[in-house]
Amino acid sequence: MISMIQFSDVTTWIHQLLSSCMAPWLVFLIELVVAAVAAVVALLVCVIIMVYMERKVAGHMQLRHGPNRVGWHGLCQLFADIIKLLLKESFTPTRADKLLFTVAPVLSLCVSLLALAPISWGPGLVLWNTNIGVLFVTAISSMGVIGILMAGWSSNNKYALLGAMRSGAQIVSYELSAGLSIVTIVALAGTLNTGGIIESQANGWWVLKGHLPAIFAFIIYIIASTAECNRAPFDLAEAESELTAGYHTEYSGMQFGIFYLNEYINMGVVAMIASTLFLGGWQPFYLPFDFPLAHAFNDIMALKFMETWPAWISWVSLAWPLVWFFGKLFLIIFFMMWFRWTFPRLRIDQLLKLEWKYLLPLSIVNLVIVALFIVLGLHF
């Protein structure tokens, strides 16, 4: 891709445009705000699609129609729900710790949005190009439990407290196997930078390259991250049959809405990380074979034919990596919804048994095998 337009060209162009008429610190500030707002808005649009998708997937998997009243096929259902939540009173119980009760949803929202920083949306399209990318996301997701614990404690309600404790135990334990499966790919790719990991998959995604450990790591990561998002079948923190609504039992109105939003943002972040690590992020599909047809296919996928086109049309190619990125994002989100509406909820002892007796030993063995591969130089 020599003549084609890159995201870095666009950002450089904007940067030069702003610098020509403003002081450097103002430029920096404006760029900071614009980039953050763009990322958050992109994620919120994803969340809107996800909520609609979840309802339709849930409906169809349970032999129902799903929402079909508000707008065409229920498309506007979410907006009706948001208006309802905004009109409702955000009620604080009398005996609650008012400060923490109010701060908890906001804190958990901030924490989950922080995890967006090192994510690479397209070639050169990353908010914070750091050499600890994936590690930072792991660190932030370990902070995510704090908002839940705060909500559980400050509600002064036994269900909320129990839900918070469960989710704490769950997140702390599942972080281990999620982390180990991330390390597997980090070892294969040799970098923690999200862009670097994606570029290491230019000649095939890790799950498709034929590394068995990478496939195991993918399965383990999907399971562990579903648990970290507190989603069914691991939704013990809000098990409605036993704990009413778990840690957000006492929340109403938009405060509840923020927790709800938070669940989907977490899902989005997890799906982004999974697609970055295992499915090649914004890399298009690549056939790792050596015969003419595969080469032709790969050339088409890399948009080679656009190189001869005039520059103003090749702008279109900017959208190509984004299409792949969001496509993989929604593929993984579909997996998570599929699990949620297929499997029954685990009991707390089964949940911990699954992690400590199955996922953790398997992911340690997996990591050791990968390390052996790399030391022997068998990986490619």
């Binding site: 710790d97 792991t138 704090i146 614990l149």
Partner: protein, 174 residues
């Protein structure tokens, strides 16, 4: 003052304020949350200094690990919506003196030390790659020995915890 100096002072103030709140709050959970915020802002200072790896580890270990453990023990031992009893005046006085003395001593030590630039030492870029190599290097100034010692310590702690927590099976009891 450059922007990073201003940000440093903001972060430092937040660290100190939340540190003070940790000590002075009479609601135990609020104290824990203040501790958490204080530690998070310390991580912020690390990020400001571009030692990202240390910053991320600060969050993983202190915020995600230790504070969550503290909060867990609070959950198991305290009631929500309760304040701790007021401390006695003598106790207050004593701990105040101790704290001031500690602060004075540390300030004195730091002010006595002459920070001189080390000549001839090539600064290493604190990337994860370099940290990893340094951690397992057994040449001069390598960290493989402390690294392995800590490994053994943690392993011993792990085994000890399992020994304490393990349920005796029926026949060993008899």
């Amino acid at each position: 003052m450059s922007a990073s100096t201003i940000i440093f002072y903001i972060l430092a103030t937040l660290v100190v304020v939340f540190g003070a709140l940790t000590v002075f709050s009479r609601k135990i959970f609020r104290a824990a949350i203040s501790l958490l915020l204080s530690l998070t802002f310390i991580a912020g200072i690390y990020f400001l200094w571009n030692v990202d790896f240390i910053g991320a580890l600060q969050i993983i270990i202190y915020v995600g690990g230790i504070v969550v453990l503290i909060i867990f023990s609070i959950f198991l031992t305290h009631h929500s919506g309760q304040s701790l009893p007021k401390a006695k005046t003598g106790k207050k006085l004593l701990s105040g003196i101790m704290a001031v003395a500690g602060l004075g001593f540390t300030t004195w030590v730091v002010s006595q030390y002459v920070f001189k630039p080390a000549p001839g030492v090539v600064p290493v870029e604190p990337s994860v790659h370099n940290i990893g190599i340094q951690m397992l290097s057994y040449s001069d100034y390598g960290y493989v020995f402390p690294f392995e010692v800590i490994n053994i310590l943690l392993l011993a702690a792990l085994v000890g915890a399992i020994v304490i927590a393990i349920k005796k099976s029926q026949d060993t009891e008899e």
